[in-house]
Symmetry: D2
Subunit: 304 residues, 4 copies
């Protein structure tokens, strides 16, 4: 069993390592040839010199997995790749692509008799060791061809992966996953902030987090991580209070509005990130001015 | 008709002016005697040297209006005042007191056969000219005795004031008024911030606000104020993005939770003020650390 | 001065009336010819038999104002209308169209040397009498040609209308206007609900609203309306607790997310409408089941 | 090692079982003597006939653990118990008491030279088997005396329990724990509701939840429970969309407001429960009426 892998960033490189350990043949291409060469030395994968080279070294029906940034970069590589493939070949997009883009791409490839599988991949840096949670959308036949590879990437052959449904459903489920993640993270952050504010109790927040990991209702993997860093430093003075956001968090919030389904927690979690980025400042200036206007700092009379 | 007035801050002084213009006798006391003297010269009110002096110069049944900061200051003056009053006298609390405190105070005074009226006062610096909206709680008989004074303070003898109900109801209605105010202010601020962010349209926000004042659904007094300051400067670069909050906004949010009634807009408006004050920073540091934890910046493996 | 008017629904018909009273010539077309005929008899407007007829009866450069439902209906009429117009003619879209659609339409018409003006119209049923707030986007020259008509529709010749900026900016400003409206409405609704819940005070909510109209910080046109219906009935038992939402409210929420600007109040106001429509029910079922799961109703042991 | 246990409801009875299995002596009292007798037969605990009997059968310094509903019931038992205890005895409150009540109670007991320990207990029905997460507040010496009992109740002798700090801190940490729980639950519920609404993907939500349990970022114990019930039925048609709330959820929201710390996710999660209980209906009626007012259903003209 083998696949072509395009993109050897942190995620792609670790996935290549896990695939190789699992006995899967990997033909890889990366824009930086040195990265590919190093990884070839480390794992025994085959380094391709170009997209064409990669395609030519795979047997049909080919499996080509794109592990690139979502958006333009993924689209550009897809545009270059598609004309070089043969009917029946399978393209997997492992980026955090917007599921509506995936649905459109799936249709475009289907017109060329190519199969498209959208793969939402979760697991971050722990995936190499623990396996990746995989949320997959696409046709059944293509999925079956891909399955041996999926079983290696997943936490266990029968766990942590799912053929969710048609093209788009994999990235859709991953998007919702990330929306939930935003809400959970914000819930923990608010709770720990409340405990920090209660200074008279002098709580050891690392110890609280560690304790909650065992037997409490809020135990989770995110709590495991939190307990780990709070044990080292609960003041976090060296950390900037700036929280980046990404496409999936925004798309989930958009989805709630488009579907007409209330998603207050997901949406607010996102907006608090916007606020952390200073995007609330103009509104705050306006509010300060309004207060001044009716609160008594005004210097001239208002005539209605 | 006359009353005793304790407290000649910005609100108290302007109320004294309006009362004097309306022909009401005012015996006033302020901790700074110079302020009292100046206002006596300006308006013809009688300056009292002490609380005792103030009480002694009023005919029974006396009306004594406290116009002091809510909380401890109001309570202390009430404690000094009450023993000097006679059964049947009326105490009016014009502060933004918590309505639960007012209910308690009303009971305490009733035990001494004193009447208590809680007066929520709205109008800010415009009150002197336009009159004050007055939300009053207390017994009917005491209210009737107070009415001639209220008619002078209000925007019109039959407009802008209401005997809401029993003791506490005046401050309760004022509290809710301010909660609504928070929500409305935040709604405008978000809207103008969205328009500011859309830089390519180069909108003149002062002109937009001015236009909305006429015929639009969102026209209001707060919009009048907003149009005025945006006409002068829509960049607001010189204004700190810091929005103070006050008791009433918090109490309204507490009330929603205690009553089990959803108040998402009032509560979020309050919380965005907290965020403007930097109170979201610890949570944001935690979120940044969590993202680092699973996002790939971690330097050691997590063993579950 | 004259214009062609397509669409004589409630808004369109009242606008025709106001235009006729202001001395503007109106050539109108409506899918129901009887409506057009009746309005012709009432106002002296000229009834067109078809779009072609309407176009042929206007002098160039023509002004054709569409007053149709946003979306497909507006687009279809635009598609039929555009080929019949001559370079230099002006099309005005008075619907609550999505401003991104307007930007696209403006570009499409510009390619045919037609001018497009997007007109956000506020004022509802009161517009006939009080005039309409008008938020306009488009090229300066076209706007100048349209101005005499705008001055008749607006609350006053120099008030309540604005050339906001380029094509799209009129509908954009109207969209934000409606987003603010959602937030303000929700703020009032929460406040009155809190007062209703406090049963022991037996508040007369109609009287409270009426009182706030004078001198309070929260006075507004929405409060005027609220005071009017609460004076008649504050129980509202006959009203279904169902709040519809519309495009502009959703688009404003989308805009906040796309711009990365926090809009918690606008977004929550929208989501509470979704909840009133029962769209929160599946989430609530899940929550009830989760509570059952850890709260003790489970009948079998969970093995982790 | 032994303790007195007051209250043998579901939580209390299971804790008695776990204590007995761990070799701890238990003298128990319950208002229903049959329950005590049955549990005595099952576990070998000693049944007390009365509070006095319970006290008399324990050696000093006694440990008496109250496992009763928070609020009045706990307070009444405490009032009856305290006079019967001797200086140095320890009272543990295992209810979900408000931490401010616990601080007050701790002071009252300290005046009588009694020790008070507030114990937040998490774990629900799984606690018997898996152990209880225990969050404890109180003096160090009393805690040390209690520790052998805690080690039996906890998931492991050195895991899942913490002496958080002074009296009140145990219930405070438990309160925050439950606030986080509300936020996490709502995040999951929103996510699954979004997936349910996307009908065209025909997602198997039980399979999605099960998959996420392995390797995903959102894996947690709450997800374990959710996967279990969704596997059986993902329609949940038989479940009422009604979500109860409890003291801790409300207190956490109050705490955020009192501390001035933004807790949007916790607060919104609570308010969506209020909405599920129909507490949004009056606000929704008002909103429907406002829309009618300006939207064109009004039958008479408004004169400003």
């Amino acid at each position: 069993m083998e696949l072509g892998l395009i993109g050897l960033g942190r995620m792609g490189a670790n996935m290549a390592r896990r695939l190789r350990k699992g006995g899967i043949g990997v033909v890889a291409w990366n824009r930086n040839a040195d990265v590919t060469k190093d990884l070839a030395n480390e794992t025994g994968l085959k380094a391709a010199n170009s997209l064409e080279d990669l395609v030519s070294r795979l047997k049909t029906p080919r499996i080509v997995w794109l592990m690139l940034p979502a958006g333009d970069v993924t689209q550009q590589h897809l545009d270059q790749l598609a004309p070089r493939l043969a009917p029946g070949d399978i393209v997997v997009d492992g980026a955090n692509s917007y599921y509506k883009d995936s649905m459109r791409r799936g249709q475009a490839l289907a017109a060329k008799k190519l199969h498209y599988i959208d793969a939402g991949v979760s697991g971050g840096v722990w995936g190499l060791e623990n396996g990746y949670a995989l949320m997959l959308g696409g046709e059944k036949a293509a999925m079956e061809h891909l399955t041996p590879i999926i079983k290696v990437l997943a936490p266990a052959p029968d766990k942590g992966w799912l053929h969710c449904g048609p093209v788009g459903s994999g990235h859709f489920v991953k998007m919702v996953h990330n929306g939930i993640e935003y809400g959970m993270m914000q819930a923990y952050a608010e709770g720990f902030a409340l405990m920090k504010a209660r200074e008279d109790f002098k709580l050891d927040l690392g110890a609280v987090a560690e304790m909650w990991r065992h037997g409490s209702v809020v135990r989770s993997w995110l709590l495991d991580l939190t307990a780990e860093f709070l044990a080292l430093d609960q003041e976090l003075q060296g950390i900037a209070p700036y929280v980046a956001d990404s496409g999936e968090g925004r798309w989930t919030a958009l989805e709630g509005i488009e579907q007409g389904v209330p998603t207050p927690v997901m949406s607010l979690a996102l907006m608090m990130r916007f606020a952390s980025q200073g995007k609330d400042e103009y509104a705050d200036r306006l509010l300060a001015m309004m207060r001044r206007g009716f609160g008594g700092h005004a210097t001239k009379e208002k005539t209605k």
